[in-house]
Symmetry: C2
Subunit: 67 residues, 2 copies
DNA sequence: TAACAGAGTCAAGCTTGCTTTACTTTTTAT
DNA sequence: ATAAAAAGTAAAGCAAGCTTGACTCTGTTA
Protein backbone atom coordinates (compact mmCIF):
# COMPACT_ATOMS: atom_id res chain seq x y z
CA UNK A 1 0.00 0.00 0.00
CA UNK A 2 1.48 3.28 -1.15
CA UNK A 3 0.25 6.69 -0.07
CA UNK A 4 0.57 10.38 -0.85
CA UNK A 5 0.66 11.55 2.76
CA UNK A 6 4.06 13.18 2.57
CA UNK A 7 3.04 15.15 -0.52
CA UNK A 8 -0.35 16.19 0.82
CA UNK A 9 1.34 17.25 4.03
CA UNK A 10 4.03 19.19 2.17
CA UNK A 11 1.43 21.00 0.07
CA UNK A 12 -0.02 22.37 3.28
CA UNK A 13 3.31 22.74 5.07
CA UNK A 14 2.15 20.61 7.99
CA UNK A 15 4.43 18.66 10.31
CA UNK A 16 3.74 15.04 11.21
CA UNK A 17 2.93 16.23 14.73
CA UNK A 18 0.44 18.79 13.46
CA UNK A 19 -1.25 16.18 11.29
CA UNK A 20 -1.32 13.71 14.17
CA UNK A 21 -3.08 16.24 16.39
CA UNK A 22 -5.81 16.86 13.85
CA UNK A 23 -6.27 13.14 13.25
CA UNK A 24 -6.28 12.43 16.97
CA UNK A 25 -3.53 9.82 16.73
CA UNK A 26 0.07 9.78 17.90
CA UNK A 27 2.90 11.31 15.91
CA UNK A 28 4.49 7.86 15.63
CA UNK A 29 1.35 6.52 14.00
CA UNK A 30 1.46 9.22 11.33
CA UNK A 31 5.13 8.52 10.76
CA UNK A 32 4.59 4.76 10.47
CA UNK A 33 1.72 5.12 8.02
CA UNK A 34 3.56 7.71 5.94
CA UNK A 35 6.58 5.43 5.73
CA UNK A 36 4.36 2.49 4.79
CA UNK A 37 5.28 0.57 7.91
CA UNK A 38 1.65 -0.43 8.28
CA UNK A 39 -1.78 0.50 6.94
CA UNK A 40 -4.21 2.71 8.85
CA UNK A 41 -7.51 1.31 10.05
CA UNK A 42 -10.46 2.10 7.78
CA UNK A 43 -11.86 4.76 10.15
CA UNK A 44 -8.49 6.47 10.29
CA UNK A 45 -8.18 6.31 6.50
CA UNK A 46 -11.54 8.08 6.28
CA UNK A 47 -10.40 10.79 8.69
CA UNK A 48 -7.18 11.29 6.73
CA UNK A 49 -9.00 11.61 3.40
CA UNK A 50 -11.58 13.92 4.92
CA UNK A 51 -8.93 16.15 6.50
CA UNK A 52 -7.20 16.54 3.14
CA UNK A 53 -10.53 17.08 1.40
CA UNK A 54 -10.18 14.10 -0.89
CA UNK A 55 -10.96 10.38 -1.17
CA UNK A 56 -9.31 7.35 0.36
CA UNK A 57 -8.47 6.14 -3.14
CA UNK A 58 -6.66 9.41 -3.81
CA UNK A 59 -4.54 9.16 -0.68
CA UNK A 60 -3.86 5.42 -0.68
CA UNK A 61 -2.98 3.20 -3.62
CA UNK A 62 -3.67 -0.45 -3.09
CA UNK A 63 -1.58 -2.95 -4.99
CA UNK A 64 -2.59 -6.56 -5.18
CA UNK A 65 -0.70 -9.06 -3.15
CA UNK A 66 1.36 -7.06 -0.69
CA UNK A 67 -0.62 -7.24 2.52
CA UNK B 1 -19.42 2.79 10.12
CA UNK B 2 -22.33 1.72 7.94
CA UNK B 3 -22.00 -0.29 4.75
CA UNK B 4 -23.95 -1.40 1.71
CA UNK B 5 -22.55 -4.93 1.61
CA UNK B 6 -25.86 -6.69 2.01
CA UNK B 7 -27.38 -4.67 -0.83
CA UNK B 8 -24.41 -5.05 -3.16
CA UNK B 9 -24.43 -8.77 -2.44
CA UNK B 10 -28.16 -9.03 -3.03
CA UNK B 11 -27.86 -7.21 -6.36
CA UNK B 12 -25.55 -9.97 -7.50
CA UNK B 13 -27.34 -12.76 -5.66
CA UNK B 14 -24.18 -13.82 -3.88
CA UNK B 15 -24.05 -15.65 -0.56
CA UNK B 16 -21.76 -14.52 2.26
CA UNK B 17 -19.70 -17.65 1.66
CA UNK B 18 -19.32 -16.90 -2.04
CA UNK B 19 -18.26 -13.35 -1.28
CA UNK B 20 -15.81 -14.57 1.37
CA UNK B 21 -14.16 -16.91 -1.14
CA UNK B 22 -13.60 -14.14 -3.65
CA UNK B 23 -12.25 -11.81 -0.97
CA UNK B 24 -10.05 -14.55 0.45
CA UNK B 25 -11.39 -14.15 3.97
CA UNK B 26 -13.56 -16.37 6.16
CA UNK B 27 -17.33 -16.44 5.96
CA UNK B 28 -17.47 -15.21 9.55
CA UNK B 29 -15.45 -12.16 8.63
CA UNK B 30 -17.87 -11.21 5.87
CA UNK B 31 -20.77 -11.72 8.25
CA UNK B 32 -19.18 -9.63 11.00
CA UNK B 33 -18.37 -6.75 8.64
CA UNK B 34 -21.79 -6.85 7.01
CA UNK B 35 -23.46 -6.71 10.42
CA UNK B 36 -21.18 -3.83 11.46
CA UNK B 37 -19.58 -5.87 14.23
CA UNK B 38 -16.22 -4.45 13.22
CA UNK B 39 -14.61 -2.56 10.36
CA UNK B 40 -12.50 -4.26 7.70
CA UNK B 41 -8.81 -3.46 7.42
CA UNK B 42 -7.97 -0.91 4.71
CA UNK B 43 -6.58 -3.57 2.33
CA UNK B 44 -9.74 -5.64 2.71
CA UNK B 45 -11.89 -2.55 2.15
CA UNK B 46 -10.01 -2.00 -1.11
CA UNK B 47 -10.58 -5.60 -2.20
CA UNK B 48 -14.29 -5.32 -1.38
CA UNK B 49 -14.71 -2.09 -3.34
CA UNK B 50 -12.74 -3.47 -6.25
CA UNK B 51 -14.75 -6.70 -6.34
CA UNK B 52 -17.97 -4.71 -6.53
CA UNK B 53 -16.48 -2.37 -9.10
CA UNK B 54 -16.90 0.73 -7.00
CA UNK B 55 -15.15 2.90 -4.41
CA UNK B 56 -14.58 2.42 -0.69
CA UNK B 57 -16.62 5.55 -0.06
CA UNK B 58 -19.53 4.02 -1.95
CA UNK B 59 -19.47 0.81 0.06
CA UNK B 60 -18.69 2.24 3.49
CA UNK B 61 -20.14 5.36 5.10
CA UNK B 62 -18.05 6.81 7.86
CA UNK B 63 -19.80 8.79 10.55
CA UNK B 64 -17.84 10.92 12.97
CA UNK B 65 -17.38 9.67 16.48
CA UNK B 66 -18.32 6.03 16.43
CA UNK B 67 -15.07 4.18 16.17
C1' DT C 1 -42.07 -32.84 8.72
C1' DA C 2 -37.61 -33.48 7.59
C1' DA C 3 -33.68 -31.92 5.54
C1' DC C 4 -30.78 -28.65 3.60
C1' DA C 5 -28.68 -23.88 2.56
C1' DG C 6 -27.83 -19.59 4.24
C1' DA C 7 -27.14 -16.63 8.01
C1' DG C 8 -25.94 -15.61 12.78
C1' DT C 9 -22.98 -16.20 16.86
C1' DC C 10 -19.37 -17.63 20.34
C1' DA C 11 -14.69 -18.82 22.05
C1' DA C 12 -9.76 -19.18 21.69
C1' DG C 13 -5.82 -17.80 19.46
C1' DC C 14 -2.76 -15.25 16.27
C1' DT C 15 -1.61 -10.88 13.76
C1' DT C 16 -1.78 -6.05 13.04
C1' DG C 17 -2.86 -1.15 14.40
C1' DC C 18 -2.04 2.13 17.76
C1' DT C 19 -0.21 3.89 22.29
C1' DT C 20 3.47 5.73 25.46
C1' DT C 21 8.18 6.48 26.56
C1' DA C 22 12.51 7.32 25.17
C1' DC C 23 16.22 7.81 22.34
C1' DT C 24 18.86 8.92 17.67
C1' DT C 25 19.26 11.10 13.19
C1' DT C 26 18.22 14.63 9.85
C1' DT C 27 16.83 19.22 8.53
C1' DT C 28 16.40 24.12 9.15
C1' DA C 29 17.66 28.56 10.81
C1' DT C 30 20.67 31.50 13.17
C1' DA D 1 28.91 25.57 13.74
C1' DT D 2 25.40 25.30 16.99
C1' DA D 3 20.85 24.77 18.56
C1' DA D 4 16.24 23.76 17.95
C1' DA D 5 12.54 21.49 15.31
C1' DA D 6 11.19 17.76 12.70
C1' DA D 7 11.57 13.16 11.48
C1' DG D 8 12.87 8.44 12.33
C1' DT D 9 13.16 4.28 15.22
C1' DA D 10 12.47 0.77 18.96
C1' DA D 11 10.25 -1.86 22.77
C1' DA D 12 6.35 -3.19 25.46
C1' DG D 13 1.58 -3.44 25.96
C1' DC D 14 -3.41 -3.01 24.85
C1' DA D 15 -7.15 -3.08 21.27
C1' DA D 16 -9.02 -4.47 16.91
C1' DG D 17 -9.14 -7.54 12.74
C1' DC D 18 -9.22 -12.12 11.23
C1' DT D 19 -8.93 -17.34 11.68
C1' DT D 20 -10.82 -22.07 12.67
C1' DG D 21 -14.22 -24.96 14.64
C1' DA D 22 -18.52 -25.71 16.30
C1' DC D 23 -23.03 -24.82 17.20
C1' DT D 24 -27.86 -22.46 16.55
C1' DC D 25 -31.61 -20.30 14.05
C1' DT D 26 -33.77 -19.06 10.11
C1' DG D 27 -36.18 -19.95 5.84
C1' DT D 28 -36.99 -22.84 1.74
C1' DT D 29 -38.50 -26.86 -0.61
C1' DA D 30 -39.14 -31.82 -1.26
Amino acid sequence: MKNRLKILRAERDWTQAHLAQHLDVSRQTVNAIEKGKYDPSLPLAFRIARLFGTTIEDVFQYEEGQT
